[in-house]
């Protein structure tokens, strides 16, 4: 039995994106849940499925349920890094389809920026820690070095990713990092771990997010355009970067085709593509591994504004983790942007963006999550009701 179309997002919200002084991670996460339920016009007491993971709570779903005062029949706090929330959507769809629950909420919250900076969920990696890697950056820098070696990519190619993300952020009043950014600004920024400089790295912000899922038969009852989960698939091959089989091919090469097969569509069908861009290399690797271009061609694919506003493919249209928001684990924000593009195109009020910031006619969006050090990969595909 396929899970295609068996769960629909009927509400969503973010809270405290950017800087949220004076509020803790749980408070931000609970605010996002309350706002998402208001968006869906579903009372809190109806929520019987809860999914959450953060870097601040070892048992996030239980802590969140307690804070909200609800008693879930099914909850899951699996943590596979930033892609956890795409995995939660897959599990929520299974639980909804099996009749275990009626209303699922997936949530995340972080106040890492105002709490003092990047908050890692990671324990030291055995057999790596002694060498002093600054993870996750060191791991992504190693992958970047290998990619550049194998395919002749340059720091300028990587910079194109950051420049395109910023161009999208400049259309989005909700984005944290706005203003002009050129390739020379990125390549000239302070080096962190060669070949990655400061502007090859994602933001360190606060932020919370939540989405509400129901079965399709009740999805049309709410005020918002329902957006359906058409396909989702996960895979992971390693935990430590030293155990990654090839640093230039991620497990997205496996999760992507399975998600597309479930959804019954192809990369060429996607109206918007939201990729977890913790570092500039991510966007290039995922465009390749998910089938938008061949291996080694990602560096060419991102040149000359082809993933910028007005380009060939609408990628990371909120500004991404590089320029919009990145509160430690970014996956739920990736998902929310994928869904909001479809809602905006259907006429829902998603707030103002500069012309071109909302993609006209968007019906299908891909939301791809990444966790750990290019470790866990979870691909999800969302669609308007017309695509069912």
């Amino acid at each position: 039995m396929s899970l295609r179309g068996k769960a629909a997002c009927v509400g969503l919200a973010t809270a405290g994106c950017g800087e949220a002084p004076g509020r803790n991670a749980m408070e931000l996460m609970a605010e996002a849940v309350v706002r998402a339920l208001d968006d869906a016009q579903i009372p809190l007491a109806k929520v019987d499925g809860l999914f959450a993971a953060t870097a601040f709570h070892s048992m996030a779903a239980m802590s969140l349920a307690e804070h909200l005062g609800i008693q879930p029949k099914f909850s899951d706090g699996s943590n596979i890094g930033g892609s956890s929330f795409m995995a939660h959507a897959l599990m929520a769809a299974m639980a909804l389809d099996a009749g275990l629950i009626e209303v699922a909420v997936i949530a995340y919250g972080s106040n890492q920026r105002t709490a003092g900076g990047f908050k890692s969920i990671s324990e030291p990696m055995p057999f790596e820690a002694i060498y002093g890697p600054r993870n996750p950056i060191t791991a992504y820098a190693l992958a970047t070095s290998r990619y550049c070696h194998e395919f002749g990519a340059t720091r300028e190619d990587l910079a194109e990713v950051a420049v395109s993300a910023r161009a999208w952020a400049n259309l989005n009043p909700e984005a944290f990092a706005r203003g002009p950014l050129g390739v020379a600004d990125v390549t000239g920024a302070r080096m962190i771990s060669d070949p990655l400089g400061k502007l090859d790295c994602c933001l360190v912000t606060d932020g919370a997010a939540a989405i509400v899922l129901t079965r399709p038969e009740r999805a049309k009852d709410g005020p918002r355009t329902p957006v359906y989960l058409l396909g989702a698939a996960m895979e992971h091959h390693h935990r430590m970067i030293s155990a990654m089989p090839s640093l230039t091919t991620t497990a997205a090469a496996a999760s992507g085709p399975r998600a597309f097969a479930m959804a019954g569509c192809t990369p060429a069908d996607m109206d918007t593509v939201q990729l977890y861009d913790a570092f500039t290399i991510n966007t290039i690797l995922f465009l390749e591994d998910l089938g938008f271009c061949a291996k080694g061609e990602g560096k060419d694919f991102v040149r000359r504004g082809r993933i910028a506003p007005g380009g060939a493919l609408a990628v990371n249209t909120n500004g991404g983790g590089l320029s919009c928001v990145h509160p430690g684990m970014y996956g739920l924000f990736v998902t929310i942007e994928a869904i909001r593009q479809i809602r905006a195109a259907a006429g829902d009020d998603e707030g103002p963006r500069e012309p071109g910031g909302w993609i006209p006619g968007a019906r299908l969006s891909l939301a791809h999550g990444n966790g750990g050090v290019l470790s866990s990969q979870v691909t999800s595909i969302w669609g308007h009701g017309d695509t069912l």
Partner: protein, 130 residues
């Protein structure tokens, strides 16, 4: 599996004890001959409980490399690399004896046992360096 295979210190403790004696030891599966690093209780993927300890040749090739930038007062820049050992497995390590940003992919390297923060550690040098 052999009686007593799981007795005594675990693979991590044994690896570190060998290192403290100045020996860089890796594992090899008796049944299929494949080498293993990092140390495991059984052959990854098959679970075959037949890993023996063997001396690593210490020779390898840089697979990926980065220079972590740090201010001099914080110890200065340092290298981190992934090394493909000639026996097959890949490991994280540092290449020293060369500027940390001069390490290149494909460079042949040889293991030495040095120290990082008072702990013995496998550290590589470019082959041919004295």
């Amino acid at each position: 599996m052999e009686a007593g295979y799981f007795d005594g210190p675990g693979p991590e403790a044994r690896f570190k004890a060998y290192l403290a004696e100045g020996r860089f030891m890796i594992q090899r599966s008796r049944s299929n001959g494949a080498h293993v690093f990092y140390p495991r209780v059984a052959m990854p993927g098959t679970g075959e409980a037949d890993l023996d300890w063997v001396e690593a040749s210490g020779l390898g090739t840089v697979y990926a490399t980065t220079c972590n930038r740090a201010r001099p007062e914080h110890g200065g820049d340092y290298n981190i690399a992934l090394i493909d050992l000639d026996e097959g497995p890949r490991m994280m390590a540092r290449v020293e004896g060369i500027a940390p940003d001069a390490v290149t992919i494909g460079m042949r390297v040889r293991a030495t046992i040095g120290e990082i923060k008072g702990e013995p550690a496998v550290i590589f040098q470019p082959e041919g360096a004295s």
